[in-house]
């Protein structure tokens, strides 16, 4: 160490070209930042502006005439609140079912002494490459009597293969075979080992699974679209679709005497987007690392 301190550090200075290069990168990335942030800020600002300001295009960055009319209306609309409640239910129960099933499959597949793991893994992975398609799956769900029932959103897509893969590679890399074998010799059963050793050691991956399934369930609309008929079962996303997307025949409201209601309807769309997205975006900064972790665990070939 003494030697290195006597030798003057020869720092290679950045050339002018390099500095220009870095400057260009900063400029590009800053524009990317603006391009991603602007729509988000615009939505939030509009949602808390007055209905007339939204309709007349006065809002361009920050809220104008702050008002919470949109949110008040949302909380007074039964259809939306039912949808909200349904979505919370689907998210909670669906996540519980999905995570349980995923662990039940992924853990045995991670044990080397479990005969048949290769076959089962291939069986599971193959479904990523090829599927029967929309109608054949629909017919199975119909046969099981799940059409227009809550089960249709909880069961038919309960397990995502990708989640099984990342959970399995996590177990494989975290739980040493020796540990399992040692506890086996001590007379600890597989279930007990899973419950009292594996799961406590696997909190990070459980967090990843919970978050991914929860967000997936909260954001899903397709299964609801094809399997559900009665609107009292609709998740929020489907309610959003009918209010914002299907109602989007602009121009019809021109000659309406209820200008105010038309303005409110427009404001409502922004408020709805905020209400539907906020729960996810608020927890997101705190859980981002789990998602990154999930992606990276999965990318290890194993």
């Amino acid at each position: 160490m003494a030697i290195s301190s006597t030798v003057p550090k020869r720092k290679i200075r950045e050339s002018a070209g390099d500095r220009l290069f870095v400057f260009a990168i900063y400029v590009i990335l800053s524009s990317v930042l603006v391009a991603v942030l602007y729509p988000l800020i615009y939505i939030v600002s509009s949602s808390i502006s007055s209905p007339s300001a939204v309709v007349s295009g006065k809002v361009w960055l920050w809220p104008v005439d702050i008002s919470f009319r949109g949110f008040q209306t949302i909380f007074k609309t039964p259809l939306i609140m039912t949808g909200y409640g349904n979505s919370l239910f689907y998210m909670a129960v669906g996540t519980l079912i999905s995570v349980t099933l995923t662990v039940m499959l992924a853990y045995p597949l991670s044990r080397k002494t479990f005969f048949g793991r290769k076959g089962i893994l291939m069986l599971v992975m193959f479904t990523m490459l090829f599927g029967g398609g929309l109608i054949p799956t629909y017919l199975v769900v119909k046969e099981l009597g799940m059409i227009d029932s809550r089960l249709a959103l909880l069961i038919p897509n309960a397990i995502w293969v990708w989640q099984v893969i990342i959970a399995r590679s996590f177990f494989q890399s975290t739980i040493p075979d020796e540990l399992a074998e040692a506890s086996e010799i001590d007379g600890c059963s597989d279930w007990r080992f899973l419950g009292s050793v594996v799961l406590p050691l696997s909190k990070p991956i459980i967090a990843v699974l919970v978050l991914m399934y929860a967000v997936g369930q909260w954001n899903a609309y397709f299964d609801a679209l094809i399997y559900l008929k009665s609107d009292k079962l609709f998740p929020l996303q489907l309610v959003l679709r009918s209010i914002i997307i299907q109602n989007n025949s602009a121009g019809a409201m021109d000659i309406s005497i209820q200008v105010q209601r038309a303005q409110l309807a427009e404001l409502l769309k922004y408020s709805l987007i905020v209400v539907a997205t906020l729960p996810v975006l608020i927890i997101y900064p705190f859980v981002q690392r789990y998602f990154v972790q999930g992606m990276l665990v999965g990318s290890i070939k194993g």
Binding site: I12, G17, F21, V22, I25, Y26, L29, V32, L33, V36, L37, L40, G57, L101, M104, L105, Y107, P108, F114, F115, G116, I120, L123, L129, F130, G131, G132, G133, L134, I135, P136, T137, V140, V141, I155, N157, I159, E184, S189, D190, W191, W218, N219, F222, I226, L240, I244, I245, A250, K269, L272, I273, A276, T277, V280, L281, Y284, P285, M295, S299
Partner: protein, 312 residues
Amino acid sequence: MKGFYSAKNGYGRQFAKSLRRHWQLYVLVLPPLLFFVIFKYVPMANAVLAFKDYNVIKGIWGSPWVGLKYFNMFFENPIFWTLVRNTMLLSFYQLLAGFPIPILLALMLNEIRNGRFKRFIQLVTFAPYFISTVVMVSMIMLFLAPRLGFVNIALQYFGFEPINFLGEPNMFRSIYVWSDIWQTAGYAAVIYLAALAGIDPTLYEAAKVDGASRFQKIWHVDLPGILPTITIILILNVGNIMSIGFEKIYLLQNSLNLPKSEVIATYVYSMGLLNANYSFATAVGLINSVINLILLVAVNSFAKRISNNSIW
């Protein structure tokens, strides 16, 4: 034959031994396995529907065989080429624009030494990934609305004519692809950033000593370093070409942009579930799945041959 039997016996004995030792694990695996059989493999078997005339009363297996009737029906229908073209063009556009951007984003982020700025950009660009498809399409519709959308307000402000973006078939693909990039580029960049972080630091030292500029360093160290990751992601993307997201296209569709926005998946939905033409829709879906599988296998073996990177 003898070898086969003895192997089978060997497997049988191994299985019996494993079953005795790990019966609890087999109990665990059973429900998820049942899930895959019922919701993935039964539908695959149900796909024989494509070769039958579906009859509600007789069920899938009791319905009469009709051979390739529905396949021919589809191939002879002029919409066949429109659907294939729309699906392919949208996918290739998506691949061409959407694949390199996360790589560029990751390479640029990797050059940023200011940790806080870097983390902030990552946080922000990752966030839209969590927006649901319905909300994404809602946002697109609000922003691009003919009169009230801020894009048209801005266009008018600068003296341009407002455009009915969603009613313009030629705009459809760009709207789809660029909103997708907005939503997923930050997420997709994460994987490349991780690959960049894994590059051997001595390579950078060597490049520095050789007097490489920043750009040369990216070109000669960064890019080769993440090439295996790039290849694998490319294979996965190409393998998904025919299964381009139904959900978003369906929501963006309207009668005006239908000439460009009707793809195989949305056609299957409207034929099968809206018109209850089960056999025909199954045939169309099956063609799609088979093309998809062939593409994936082809790309994978191609990548294996030229670069030794493959997904299996």
